[in-house]
């Protein structure tokens, strides 16, 4: 009996260890890996035609929501709540004379949240699939449409692709433009400005070029989210507050390059 009980205890212990190992292994499989390209894009690439739904464009519609600023921030990935301007929040009355030191302090810690809440209604269109030459490693992106008069932060995320704004192969300085850019030549591009300014950048011949980070573009994807702000900013934490997000996948076109003989007329 004593040995039987001991064996049972050993068995339970071994079983517990095995269960722990198993759960850890499954957890490894479930946790998203660094290369986020593979999971979302691969199924669409292998059979692009059947996966196309009847709807021809991805449409993201941001509805107005009656949430407070605090709730909005709480639901977004913004890690630290931003203080809202309120005189009553200050435990000690501030002096009425503003010193240079005070100005410096105010500049260092923004007291006004520029995130609009609730986010205004916004319609964003992007093609579900972008037909490209199967050999293509580069694509000039302008198939984006949205309507809105606000100031936005456009967050482009590439899955296996990077974004190059303005001059090809260079990190541009857009100091004189009416928009600001962060993340040029990276997979996380952020452009902020008025809706018209962002659109004009997209329509520019050298606008936003998408380059594959490895091999052909086909099979890779990009997503765009738009966040309404009160003033232009490229803080990445605002990207998560967007209610308008859309994704496009690069699909290879079949191409035929052929020679056709011209019709000749016989001389009589």
């Amino acid at each position: 009996m004593f040995y039987s009980a001991r064996n049972r205890t050993i068995a339970i212990a071994i079983g517990g260890l095995v269960a722990l190992t198993l759960s850890a292994s499954f957890a490894d499989d479930l946790i998203p890996q660094d290369s986020v390209v593979e999971a979302p894009t691969a199924p669409l690439v292998e059979s692009p035609a059947p996966t196309l739904p009847p709807q021809e464009t991805t449409t993201a519609l941001a509805e107005s929501e009656s949430v407070t600023v605090a709730q909005e921030i709480g639901n977004s990935p913004i890690s630290t709540p931003r203080p809202t301007p309120s005189a009553t929040n200050s435990p000690t009355p501030r002096p009425t004379v503003t010193t240079d030191l005070d100005l410096l302090a105010e500049n260092e810690t923004p007291t006004v949240d520029i995130l609009i809440s609730p986010q205004p209604r916004l319609t964003l269109h992007m093609p579900i699939s972008l037909g490209i030459d199967p050999r293509s490693r580069s694509y000039l992106m302008n198939s984006i449409e949205f309507w809105g008069t606000s100031t936005y932060l456009a967050c482009f995320n590439g899955y296996g692709v990077g974004f190059d704004v303005g001059t090809a192969g260079a990190i541009d300085d857009f100091g004189n433009e009416n928009f600001i850019v962060a993340g040029d030549r990276t997979a996380n591009l952020r452009v902020s400005g008025t809706g018209a300014a962002i659109k004009s950048l997209l329509r520019t011949p050298g606008g936003i070029r998408i380059n594959s980070s490895n091999g052909a573009l086909a099979g890779h994807a990009l997503s765009l989210s738009l966040t309404a702000l009160t003033s232009a900013a490229t803080d990445e934490s605002y990207c998560g507050a967007s209610k308008a997000t859309s994704t496009s996948v690069f699909s290879p076109l079949k191409i035929d390059l052929g020679l056709v003989k011209g019709q000749g007329t016989l001389k009589k």
Binding site: G15, A42, A49, K254, I255, L257
Partner: protein, 219 residues
């Protein structure tokens, strides 16, 4: 009467065997997971037939799209991305000089898509200059822009398309610097977007052809 001791050895063996089998499961799971991940990265490259044109074996295709609104009573934001332009890129105008260049768009049912104002307009054609130009050309008459039927017969109809043959600037396809040996031939299907509005999602195949362009005797 048997004691517990007598049964302990077979039981121990069973426990050890069971533990080993259970311990191997995570390894198996990991192996299968790795296989799936590797498989997901594969891409079937070069679908469809790819033949070289006689004058240039390395031309590329780039399709430009733009939003085309098509509001409905229930959805005022309805619409689709129409094919604004199709560019044949990296074109060598020295080796292809004097040839006719034809473009077709084909849908998922392998049918030619109408690219002009009449249903039989299936092909867009230009005649490349006999000598490589030194500046961009966008005169549709000079480039002989025209519609053809599926079998290549000329069609007399209103020309809605425009064309641009670019030898300077940056290539639409890859942003490289254009030249006479790396030119862009861009067909704009209907700049007014009033008549020829092809949904970009319907285009599954493009065809580029070069055709000999014999001159009439005495020319």
């Amino acid at each position: 009467m048997s004691s517990g001791f007598n049964h302990s050895r077979p039981r121990k063996s069973k426990f050890i065997l069971g533990a080993l089998v259970l311990g191997a499961v995570p390894l198996l799971v990991s192996t299968f997971a790795a296989s799936v991940t590797v498989g997901n990265g594969s891409l079937e490259f070069g679908q469809g037939s790819q033949q070289a044109t006689a004058c240039d074996s390395t031309v590329f295709i780039a399709m430009g799209e733009e939003w085309h609104p098509s509001p409905t009573p229930t959805d005022p934001s309805n619409g689709y991305f129409r094919v604004r332009a199709v560019t044949i890129s990296n074109l060598d105008l020295t080796t292809c000089a004097g040839k006719k260049l034809r473009l077709r768009l084909i849908d998922g049912a392998s049918s030619e898509i109408t690219t002009g104002p009449t249903p039989d307009s299936k092909v867009l054609q230009i005649a490349l200059p006999d000598q490589a130009p030194t500046s961009n050309v966008s005169d549709p008459v000079a480039l002989g822009l025209s519609y053809l039927s599926g079998i290549g017969a000329p069609i007399s109809t209103t020309l809605l398309a425009t064309v641009s043959l670019s030898v300077s600037g940056t290539a639409v396809y890859d942003g490289t610097t254009l030249s006479a040996t790396n030119a862009d031939a861009t067909f704009y299907l209907d700049p007014t977007a009033l008549t020829v509005n092809i949904d970009g999602q319907s285009v599954r195949r493009t065809t580029v052809e070069t055709v000999n362009n014999p001159k009439a005797p005495g020319i």
